[in-house]
């Protein structure tokens, strides 16, 4: 035996025994879900992200590294590879008349083009915030801070990119409330949210779990809309406090601060790191109420329409289930209309596979806003080799549905997944701006991935149930 082996063997022989066990998967999933469901819309955005992939089209390489607001070359636009063209699907499409940049600016701590924002209204009754830096009256991002390969150019943000920056539904009077707290963002203004971190290529060495940007390439940014009752915001950071006045009827605010020194110290790169000395931003309202931005802020001064609460008679419709042991092998789109009044929903991110279950029903109640949807849940036998657990819950429809249309869900199955399937189709109308714990638990896509998951929630209003046996 060589000396190398002797030393290695000695270390190996001293490997401590391990007691205890990893936490159950359910605990990890619950933690992930807590992150994802900070607001209802965060969950919807996360779901939508599966099919909407931001790409940096035709990035111009090279260019002047030294840039200035007055002489900034223009590069390619930041363009999404996938654009929702159907005004009735997902977030809808931007309304042309709502693209103006708000007349508020926030200076960047290191100079250069100021930060600004616009609010984009969509055809599905949402207001979406878009933040960027302004050059020659255009909103965009800069090729700095490891974004766009540091090309030093200005890249215009297109309105479609609002999909990435969060949306909220309007209330009965056209007001919106979106109280976002400070978060670490790229100095380029390219959002680090929703996996666009892949576009900001910070390469500090030693960490392979995510991008890790130097503090100079980061900013602490807060933006949002506090509605017509917003009065002022106080910001306490670095031992001093200042006040800003929200702008206009929407109560818009945009705050840009230097990055905390240790913003890149976390194991997640720049994301999700909440240093103990994070700025405290408190909103004050005409009603005398206050709330801390980034924490649970109730929608003050907002009057949401009551969620639809249909009767059983209004909703009930026969549910039909068919089983195909051999699929076509083609991948269905996330959502498609066949022109004959049928909407087909392929559960996102899942290939149809060789076998599939198809659930079909008539939607007697129309879905005309993003807060309402149809979904299904399945309870089935436990079968060896059939992965996915005893309970399956869908991600729900994500589109406008007129009354009387046929809705179809397709669920891929492992070949071993035979047995009895109890199917329930339900309808949910969610109060805008609210978290509904029961709903969040019930519709978690992880429910289907949890072997031994024992929860059997029955969310929403039942459309119909059926039982089928897969041989």
């Amino acid at each position: 035996m060589s000396g190398i082996d002797q030393l290695g063997q000695r270390i190996r022989a001293a490997t401590p025994a391990v007691d205890g066990a990893p936490p159950p998967l359910a605990r990890v999933i619950a933690a992930i879900e807590r992150e994802r469901s900070r607001s209802w819309w965060a969950r919807r955005v996360a779901a939508g992200r599966r099919t909407v992939v931001l790409a940096l089209a035709g990035v111009l390489v090279a260019g002047g590294a030294a840039w200035a607001a007055t002489a900034l070359l223009s590069g390619a636009s930041v363009a999404p590879a996938y654009v929702i063209a159907n005004p009735g699907v997902s977030y809808g499409v931007p309304i042309t008349s709502s693209l103006a940049i708000l007349p508020i600016r926030a200076a960047d701590p290191q100079g250069g083009p100021p930060w600004a924002m616009r609010v984009i209204r969509t055809t599905r009754g949402l207001d979406c915030i878009q933040v960027g830096r302004v050059v020659n009256g255009q909103l965009g991002v800069l090729g700095i801070g490891h974004a766009f390969h540091d090309d030093g150019r200005f890249h215009e943000l297109l309105p479609q990119d609002s999909l990435w920056l969060g949306c909220q539904p309007l209330d009965k009077h056209g007001n919106v409330f979106f109280a976002r707290g400070p978060s670490v963002q790229s100095a380029s203004a390219l959002s680090l949210a929703y996996n666009t971190t892949d576009q900001v290529r910070c390469n500090l060495p030693g960490f392979n779990g995510g991008p890790r940007c130097p503090p100079a390439a980061l900013r602490e940014v807060a933006d949002g809309l506090l509605g017509p009752d917003a009065k002022r915001i106080t910001v306490t950071t670095g031992g001093r406090t200042f006040t800003i006045k929200p702008y206009g009827r929407d109560g818009a605010y945009l705050i840009v601060l230097p990055s905390p020194a240790d913003a890149n110290a976390g194991p997640y790169g720049a994301l999700d790191h909440a240093p103990p000395d994070a700025p405290v931003m408190t909103a004050y309202f005409k009603t005398g109420q206050t709330c801390r931005l980034g924490h649970q802020c109730p929608a003050i001064g907002i009057d949401y329409a009551s969620p639809t609460n249909p009767s059983a008679a209004q909703l009930e419709s026969p549910v039909h289930v068919t089983y195909q042991p051999h699929g076509t092998g083609t991948t269905s789109p996330l959502l498609a209309s066949d022109g004959a009044g049928m909407v087909s929903v392929q559960q996102p991110g899942v290939d149809p596979g060789p076998a599939r279950l198809t659930i079909t029903f008539h939607a007697k109640i129309a879905v005309d806003n993003p807060n309402s949807f149809y979904d299904f849940q399945i309870t089935r036998s436990v079968v060896n080799g059939c992965f996915g657990g005893q309970y399956l819950v869908g991600d729900g429809t994500d589109n406008t549905i007129t009354a009387g249309r046929v809705v179809q869900f397709t669920i891929p199955l492992d070949a071993a997944c035979h047995g009895t399937y109890r199917v329930r189709v339900f309808y949910i109308s969610v109060p805008p701006g609210e978290d509904l714990p029961a709903v969040n638990v019930a519709i978690t896509p992880f429910a289907g991935a949890l072997a031994g998951h024992t929860r059997t929630p029955t969310p929403g209003h039942t459309v119909g149930t059926t039982v089928t046996t897969i041989p």
Binding site: Q6, A14, A17, R27, P205, G209, V350, F446, A449
Partner: protein
């Protein structure tokens, strides 16, 4: 059939959570090990596009290493000022629980974090050089140097001049 992201994640957890927990447990107490395991897989979910499909464990170890380091930093921040002042008086090596070999444990404790980690990943987690490259985020050549130096320093810390590995490796590396 191609798995959904959620099912793939569940499988990833089923396959590797015990190893990640064991990694953390060998370096911390049960409570911290559970927390670190959960956080590692939260990162894995957020960064699921980056998780290697073929051999995810080294990547997970790399994340675990960072999460554990962050946990230790947080713990240090939580300590009292007095404790921190005492720390300034001289760094006391944190004990390394080497089963049945107190001399080795003491020697490992005297190594730098980087030296100790490369050795423990190699021999406790039984990673191959290829896997170590992924877990440590370094090049193959840098790994060879790190491993060589860590072995040399450990042998020195063990105070065992008869360990032949030192001379052989230095000659080989020169």
């Amino acid at each position: 059939m191609q798995d959904s992201e959620e099912v793939a994640f569940a499988r990833l957890y089923e396959r590797h959570s015990s190893a990640v927990y064991a990694y953390a447990r060998r370096r911390s107490d049960v409570q911290v090990a559970e927390e670190v395991t959960a956080r590692v897989f939260m990162v894995a979910w957020r960064r699921r596009a980056a998780v290697p499909a073929e051999d995810a464990l080294p990547w997970l170890y790399g994340v675990a290493r960072r999460v554990l380091a962050e946990e230790r930093r947080s713990e240090r921040r939580r300590r009292s000022l007095g404790q921190r002042l005492r720390d300034l008086g001289g760094r006391e090596a944190e004990p390394v629980a080497a089963a049945g070999d107190g001399v080795l444990g003491a020697a490992l404790a005297r190594l730098s974090d980087a030296d100790r980690e490369v050795l423990l990943l190699r021999y406790w987690e039984d990673l191959s050089p290829e896997q170590l490259v992924v877990a440590l985020g370094c090049s193959r050549s840098a790994l060879a140097v790190r491993l060589h130096r860590a072995r040399r320093r450990l042998a020195g810390a063990l105070g065992d001049p008869g360990t032949p590995v030192l001379g052989h490796e230095e000659v080989g590396a020169a």
